[in-house]
Amino acid sequence: MAAWDLTVTVEDLGPDAPPLQISVTSDLHIGGVILKLVEQTKLKKDWSDHALWWEQKQQWLLRTGWTLDKCGVHADARLIFTPQHKPLRLCLPNGATLKMRACFSSSVFRTVMGICRVLNIRHPEELSLLRPVEEKKKKKDKDSSEELYDLTDVPLTAGSVQALYNGMPAHFADSPKTEAVYKMLSVSLPSPAPEAIAKLYRPASVVDKTHIHTRWLDSSRSLMQQGIQENDRIWLRFKYYTFHDMDPKYDAVRLTQLYEQARWAILLEDIDCTEEEMMLFGALQYHIGKLSLSQDVVSTCQGMDDLESALKSLEVKMVGDGNSTDILDNMTAPVLNDYLKIFRPKRLTLKGYKQYWCNFQDTSISYYKSSEDRFGEPIQQLNLKGCEVAPDVNVAGQKFCIKLLIPAPEGMNEIYLRCENEKQYSQWMAACKLASKGLTLLDSSYQSEVKNIQTFLSMQRSNSAAPTAQTDDSINTHSLVSPRYHKKYKPKQLTPRILEAFQNVAQLSLTSAILKFLQIWQALPDFGISYFMVRFKGSRKDEVLGIANNRLIRIDLGVGDVVKTWRYNNMRQWNVNWDIKQVAIEFDGNINIAFGCVNADCKVVHEYIGGYIFLSTRSRQQSDTLNEELFHKLTGGHEAL
């Protein structure tokens, strides 16, 4: 058989080196080509990761047993001999950029599995890669200053079970540098500066929201095939909004990144929420941020210890001496006693705050004319159980009021308590808060509640302080809410509102706070809907198709409202006509719909629907191994089958 020259560029020889010419015959298999090539380079290195990339055809020649003839390679082919794993700048859900090696030759589905294995994220099928939003030119130079986490030295392990070392997967425990990466991955990042949020792209309409989904990569083709180059920026995101088997014990990174993605979705108004919800999200972010900064693993089984110590102390007291008053003193619940100003707004009164001697005991406040009268009958006793407690605070104005709405058969009694200073306020506020839940000062959470309030108050105080890095104390409340509220409220107006919401979540542990955030996020009406611009068959105007985990939604752009909903469990079958790029779906009861995609590849839509159906099969088959074949069957295009 006639020998001919094959031109192969070997990347490792340097960018300027001329392509190598090797003499081959058509029945030489790919492995033989590689062998010849390696011999010719005279370089001694590990070539095991290298493979041939056929540039014109945009495909890898990975089957080493195939002959050149079978692959269709002729003398005009320009091949490149290049590593299959290349560094990629991965933009994580938390906004950090991580440089790491990823596989450029396998399907994106597999590549994501590999990435997630390194990052220690379970259930990689829920994530995928997408092209970043184009950056403006002038931002380019900023890239150098951008903090870059580097994991390129970490070898890709094949094993799926990760040994833990120091509470992190062993491959992160190698060096301080990689440990820092793991911390970045598993601990939520501090709140961004308000300006940073404002600068980022925010979708203004549902049409805008369709754009982001045009960027998803095709899961059944490789990165290289989709034009991704070495060191390119690419986003890693949760793509499918069904989070299977979330377990904080194993899912530190997954949970954190999901939280980050949710947080950014809220901050960038990717998902709409009400003001009340935004305040709660803000409060949770503040709480999570604070706990993340001082993250020491606190065991939550405090209750047991408390009981034990209570028993101990009771024991000691009873054994100690029989002096009854002594026992009494020691065993009595702590009380708060102080002069406070009280104001009861009533119609047609101009009376202001009046000072009383107040005594907080149990879940009640009793107030007296003065401390001398405290042994007599109180002027009034307020039982706070079940009441609403709201802060009315302005640190700058030195106003520390507690607004109480105490339920009574006739309605709610409105009462304001005015404290002198932060310390007094935080004590009384914490007591009121606990009492409203029926807890007393004796409750173990009292001290932490007091502390929580104090730290939150200091947010207001330190706003004017030097703009140092975000520490525990100083945080701009604007960085907790979306830019819409930057315009609507000043930070000091925002603080009390967030503080109000914060009261209800201050007791949560870090994990429960994150879970709570995700829970509220998932309860939003628009949660988990991915939008695509489509044109339905027979319709003349563009409409929006929303794809969720259980249904398809047709949204009329004119009205901006849901017109129709189809559920997957009524779905008989769906087909894609790749020639005219049309997706056709048949539902029970002879309902047929067909649409073409306006701005996205219809493969993306097809993959989204198939992906959700694939994910819904997971709960049934409990095995850990991912049924990759089924995924491709459900999501692949015609070439995959």
Binding site: E315, V319, D362, N383, L518
Partner: protein, 643 residues
């Protein structure tokens, strides 16, 4: 007065003993002399009940009987619970044979042997058992001490439990009176009612609260506590508790499509496949967060303080009820929050067209449970038709209670399907959790003399001790117990003397022996099971020596054993009469019966009040007016017997 005195003295005695014995131990006295310690009288810390209701006299006789049975059951249940816990510690104890002394009341509190005959009811107390394992003296002392403390705590906790006597109106017009303690959920109360009424136990049964002032009705959710909401009724409240079937209680779980696909054609919804319904439930209730039905539409809102009703476009979200202001879009950011659900409940309203000139009679309100009268803090809403009202009210309940609602439903279904066997099952489950108690023979061999019965001691005490209200101060408040939040303190105002709900103090505890064993079938599993589960493990197995120190009187009646000695009887009255009426021990006579109000009913109820309690520094303790109630009850019972 005397009975109060007796109670006080008992209490005093008890506390003295407790401190005393502990003191002794601390001074490295040898073994405490449990046998010499007069049996701690069952204390009545009538904590948390400032008041007692006069309306006992209004109760019909059979009510009284039933009530009595409840009370007794309650006492023994506590005892038993504690004993069970105690027994669990005796892991090393051999499996107990059947009790050999029939006269022993000592029962094997928690043996798994369900066929064991219940012990006879009229005798007291076998001697306490020796520790099953040999421990060093120090250890024994330690354990003894710890055990006593635990017992004291347990009693304190028990004593603080608030109880109400509730008259429940049943749809057929009859009513049942039962005692509800604050740890009981509505589910427990319903189970109790099922037993008493013999109705089918389908899931639609519901305990409702009506308020004639506001013309509202609300079905309590199964997981709610009944005592809490009832405690907020006003003194002169006309409110009622009704036991009835409510179709819409769990309709959302039978036909979720009506709520979750309300926009679709109604006809097509009715014939939805079961499989699809299940899937809907799974999607909406089994995920990380419950999905609230996406209700939206025009409702009428009664304007604050005005008579007019204004149309607004409302949307339901998990975070609250919103409306979109005029001229704005339905976009989330523009919505105005009318109310969030943390502090309010949703109530159906009746005939608001008349009362408030509502556009239709399909109204519901949202209000804080404590609000009992018309108020500006109530949100009044009106729907076009009944279906829409059901959708909104159910939707709000889903938003408020979330997964809990689904859990309630699943429990209800489970119970409805196995209602017949249920009572047995739970009781067995609880008893099988503990290990068998030691052999009674060994106990006897230990040589502790049986304690004198209280029947004789009670009256004696009452003369020898002055009424010692200050002694209350000796009682330490219960230590913080994070697992079981302390029950709410007594409301500041003396609670209602209304007819339907009577605040009840815990019964003064009588010597075990003098009571017939409670009719077991009436026994609601007193502490709700989940609470049990939450008890820290170290609480469960108190060390063995406790038996020694706490003599026989403290020992509980046999494990609830419905199959054994009490043939499933007609609950309540008859059972009580047969078990308790004939044999000697009626409840200890409320000693000098003369001036009791019962004797002089026409004069109205003269309240026996304990001497005004001194200002207390211990928060939980309130005036022990509780003895009152018990004697009242006794008198009433005696009177009835005498007739």
């Amino acid at each position: 007065m005397e009975d109060i005195d007796a109670m006080f003295s008992d209490m005093l005695q008890e506390m003295d003993l407790l401190t005393q014995s502990l003191g002794e131990e601390a001074e490295s006295a040898p073994l405490p002399k449990p046998s010499s310690i007069p049996e701690p009288q069952q204390m009545n810390f009538s904590v948390g009940f400032t008041d007692f209701n006069a309306s006992l006299h209004d109760l019909e006789d059979n009510d009284l009987d039933a009530l009595m049975a409840d009370l007794v059951a309650d006492i023994s249940a506590t005892e038993e619970k504690f004993a069970t816990e105690r027994d669990t510690s005796k892991d090393s104890a051999p499996i107990a044979p059947k009790p050999l002394q029939p006269q022993s009341n000592f029962g094997l509190p928690a043996s798994t042997d369900t066929s064991k005959p219940a012990t006879s009811s009229n005798s007291i107390a076998a001697p306490p058992p020796p520790p099953a394992t040999k421990l060093s003296k120090e250890e024994q002392e330690e354990q003894l001490k710890a055990d006593k403390i635990k017992l004291a705590l347990e009693k304190l906790k028990e004593a603080k439990v608030k109880k109400l006597v509730v008259k429940v109106v049943i749809t057929d017009g009859s009513s049942k009176t039962l005692m509800v303690d604050e740890r009981q959920t509505v589910r427990d109360v319903m189970d109790n009612l099922f037993e008493k009424t013999h109705c089918d136990c389908n899931v639609d049964w519901c305990v409702c609260e009506t308020n004639p002032d506001l013309q509202t009705e609300r079905g309590f959710e199964d997981h709610e506590n009944l005592v809490d909401p009832l405690s907020t009724w006003t003194r002169d409240s006309e409110n009622k508790v009704i036991f009835q079937e409510k179709k819409d209680k769990y309709e959302v779980f039978r036909n979720p499509q009506i709520f979750y696909m309300w926009k679709k054609d109604k006809k097509s919804l009715m014939d939805m496949k079961e499989k699809d319904k299940e899937q809907l439930l799974e999607e909406n209730f089994c995920g990380a967060s419950v999905i609230v039905p996406d209700l939206e539409g025009v409702l009428y809102l009664k304007e604050d303080g005005k008579k007019s009703w204004k149309q607004r476009y409302f949307l339901l979200r998990a975070s609250g009820l919103y409306y979109s202001p005029k001229g704005k879009t339905k976009a989330s950011r523009d919505l105005v929050c009318l109310v969030q659900f943390d502090n309010v409940n949703v109530y159906y309203c009746k005939e608001y067209r008349n009362k408030y000139k509502a556009p239709t009679d399909h109204c519901f309100i949202l209000k804080h449970p404590q609000i009992q009268k018309e108020s500006q803090y109530i949100k009044y809403l009106c729907c076009d038709d009944e279906l829409s009202m059901t959708l909104w009210v159910t939707g709000i309940r889903i938003a408020k209670y979330g997964k809990q609602l689904y859990e309630n439903y699943k429990t209800a279904v489970r119970k409805a399907s196995g209602s017949a066997t249920w009572a047995n099952r739970t009781i067995q489950a609880s008893s099988s959790a503990s290990t068998p108690s030691p052999k009674p023979k060994v106990k006897a061999a230990n040589g502790h003399a049986p304690q004198p019965t209280k029947d004789t001691m009670g009256p004696a005490n009452q003369t020898s001790f002055p009424p010692p209200p200050p002694s209350l101060d000796i009682l330490p408040p219960p230590p913080p117990d994070p697992m079981l939040p302390p029950p709410p303190p007594a409301p500041p105002a003396p609670p209602a003397s209304a007819t339907k709900v009577n605040k009840f103090p815990p019964p003064p505890k009588f010597p075990q022996s003098s009571f017939p064993p409670p009719p077991m079938d009436d026994l609601p599993p007193p502490p709700p099971p989940p609470e049990d589960a939450e008890l820290p493990p170290d609480f469960l197995p108190p060390p063995p020596p406790s038996f020694g120190s706490y003599g026989a009187d403290m020992l509980p009646p046999p494990p609830p054993d419905p199959t054994a000695s009490f043939p499933p009887p007609p609950p309540g009255p008859q059972n009580f009469a047969s078990a308790g009426g004939a044999p000697p021990p009626p409840p200890p006579p409320p000693p000098p019966p003369a001036p009791a109000p019962a004797a002089n009913p026409s004069a109205g109820y003269v309240r026996k009040v304990a001497p005004p309690p001194p200002k207390r520094t211990t928060p939980q303790l309130t005036a022990p007016s509780g003895g009152d109630l018990m004697s009242e009850l006794m008198t009433a019972m005696q009177k009835k017997r005498g007739q």
